[in-house]
């Protein structure tokens, strides 16, 4: 692909030493084009979170290279090219909502000017205007996650890394936040790598779904999801939507599917 923001080549990740060695990832090759929304999906323990953290330089590969934005992953982190959102909001309970969004801007010298304005703009983007002076405990789980997203975007990163951000929320909030996330993605054009357990969520949100195998994790297939944009509630009733879900599910189970909707052909 011509304009790849992330290039992962031949990456292995092994935890532990000697007798305790646990291979987490094996021969990972992945290219993520600019502006894409890529979901990583796979069974528990397949290493999808590990892969995300490797891209974010929060851990280092045992073998292989990772290139982000044309630099090493380490350089990209130091240059603050990416923002992270975890499953828990990880907000600081001693700071107001606005204070939390401003945190990365305070840390980075180059982003200091106009911090307050930027924070307010981000909160407007996630539709939390008016909540600047509140404290985290006063917000619901869904709202706290929106603050976390606003914080991750506040310094305009090239890439957004999200590790099951909506995992702890109820179904309805989740669906609403999915729509919100897509709206934000459309507006900012930020390349997004999204780890999830939920097949429907992966299909709904992504331009590409990377299906991973069980440990040691490998990329089984990267499925381009060419459902029409912008995606909305109607998308969830589209026949092709269900087709993609089925295809991802079958891939996870290790069976081949000839084409969406056709009778399955069991692979040996």
């Amino acid at each position: 692909m011509t304009d790849s923001v992330v290039r992962v080549r031949g990456v292995d990740k092994v935890f532990g030493v000697g007798a305790d060695k646990t291979p987490a990832l094996q021969s990972i090759d992945l290219e993520i084009p600019k502006g894409a929304f890529v979901s990583l999906i796979g069974p528990s323990g397949c290493g999808k979170s590990t892969l995300l953290r490797l891209i974010g330089d929060l851990t280092q590969p045992s073998a292989g290279t990772i290139e982000v934005n044309g630099k090493t992953a380490h350089r990209a982190r130091v240059d603050r090219d990416y923002g992270m959102v975890f499953q828990a909001p990880v907000l600081f309970d001693w700071r107001t909502v606005q204070g939390n969004v401003e945190l990365p801007l305070e840390v980075s010298a180059k982003d200091r000017a106009g911090r307050a304005d930027r924070a307010r703009a981000m909160l407007a983007l996630v539709e939390l205007s008016g909540f600047e002076r509140r404290y985290p405990w006063q917000l619901s789980g869904g709202m706290q996650q929106r603050v976390a997203i606003a914080r991750a975007l506040s310094f305009e990163p090239a890439i957004l890394l999200m590790d099951e951000p909506f995992g702890a929320l109820d179904e309805m909030t989740r669906e609403r936040l999915n729509l919100e996330l897509l709206r934000i993605w459309k507006q900012t054009g930020t390349t997004t790598v999204f780890v999830t357990h939920s097949i429907p969520e992966a299909v709904f949100l992504s331009t590409h779904v990377a299906v991973m195998s069980a440990r040691p994790g490998r990329i089984l297939e990267v499925i381009p999801v060419d459902l029409p944009q912008p995606r909305n509630d109607l998308t969830r009733e589209d026949e092709r939507y269900f087709g993609f879900i089925k295809r991802v599910r079958e891939r996870l189970r290790g069976r081949d599917v000839v084409r969406p909707g056709a009778a399955e052909v069991a692979a040996s």
């Binding site: 603050r80 992270m84 828990a88 600081f92 001693w94 405990w137 006063q138």
Partner: protein, 288 residues
């Protein structure tokens, strides 16, 4: 315009003070009732029982204690109230000065320990063990040893403050969620930023718990330290003095003790107020 958090906090504080005063009033009533039942007989009333504890010598009437504040402490001297207020301030200054020094030292040490595992392993066992050593009991010895004076007493207070603050600081500085630290790494923050923006704010509640304990300990340490050192200006000296001459004026000792109590509570309340200020908004209001 006050936000709802503040009005709620003020309300709770007022309710605390009110309930405190109600209990004091109840105790005062109880005091006089006890004297009514078993105290010394007067012209108007002979109590049904005879309890030595309730005699005027051992339990002066509350109005006598109150009156003693305005009477001179010694012949031709200033009123007792003035003497005790000065003594109270004297002791408070010793306690406070030591407290500040000990708190700063304790926090600095905790920060050093957080960044050096080796130092921590070498020294923390002693910091912990010292909590089981009767430090306050050593106070007079230290004061004599350092040749007396208010500085020696401040050293006692510093010592009493320093240990709880170090332990609490260490716990608090280590308390943040590891993911918060990962977040800071993702921003490529310096360790100074991590200390100032994450560890210290997280440590604040623990530190204030230690400060409250240390405040009380500092006052006690100051009073005890004054006892054998010949310092006459503080509350320790006042208590010794009025104890020595108890029979000639029982209410005066009680007055001194009341002032000591006020100094103790006052210092505690000061720290509590600072706590409310520093930690405002952090968590949902809970009880006490």
């Amino acid at each position: 315009m006050l936000s709802s958090i503040y009005t709620f906090a003020v309300f709770r504080a007022a309710r605390s003070v009110l309930s405190f005063l109600v209990v004091i009033a109840a105790l005062a009533v109880l005091w006089e009732v006890v004297k009514l039942l078993g105290g010394d007989p007067s012209e108007a009333w002979t109590p049904p029982f005879q309890w030595t504890v309730a005699s005027d010598l051992n339990m002066p009437h509350l109005w006598d204690i109150a009156a003693s504040f305005v009477e001179p402490a010694q012949r031709n001297g200033p009123p007792l109230g003035i003497v005790l207020v000065n003594a109270g301030f004297f002791t408070f200054r010793e306690a406070f000065g030591g407290f500040v020094f000990g708190a700063v030292l304790g926090l600095a040490l905790a920060i050093v320990f957080v960044h050096s595992r080796m130092l921590e392993r070498a020294l923390v066992p002693y910091v912990v063990a010292s909590q089981t050593v009767p430090i306050i009991a050593i106070a007079p010895v230290v004061v004599i040893w350092l040749r007396g004076g208010w500085l020696a007493v401040a050293v006692i207070s510093a010592y009493l403050t320093f240990f709880p603050v170090t332990i609490a600081g260490l716990r608090g500085l280590r308390s943040p969620d590891p993911r918060a630290l990962e977040l800071m790494r993702s921003y490529a923050s310096s360790s100074r930023d991590v200390l100032l923006k994450v560890r210290l704010p997280a440590a604040a509640p623990y530190l204030f718990a230690a400060f409250k304990i240390a405040a009380t300990a500092s006052v006690v340490g100051a009073i005890i330290g004054e006892l054998p050192s010949g310092i006459r200006d503080g509350l320790g000296g006042a208590i010794l003095n009025f104890n020595q001459f108890y029979v000639s004026g029982p209410p005066k000792l009680w007055a001194a003790i009341i002032v000591a109590a006020i100094v103790g509570i006052g210092f505690f309340a000061l720290v509590r107020a600072a706590e409310v200020l520093f930690l405002r908004g952090r968590t949902a209001p809970s009880d006490a």
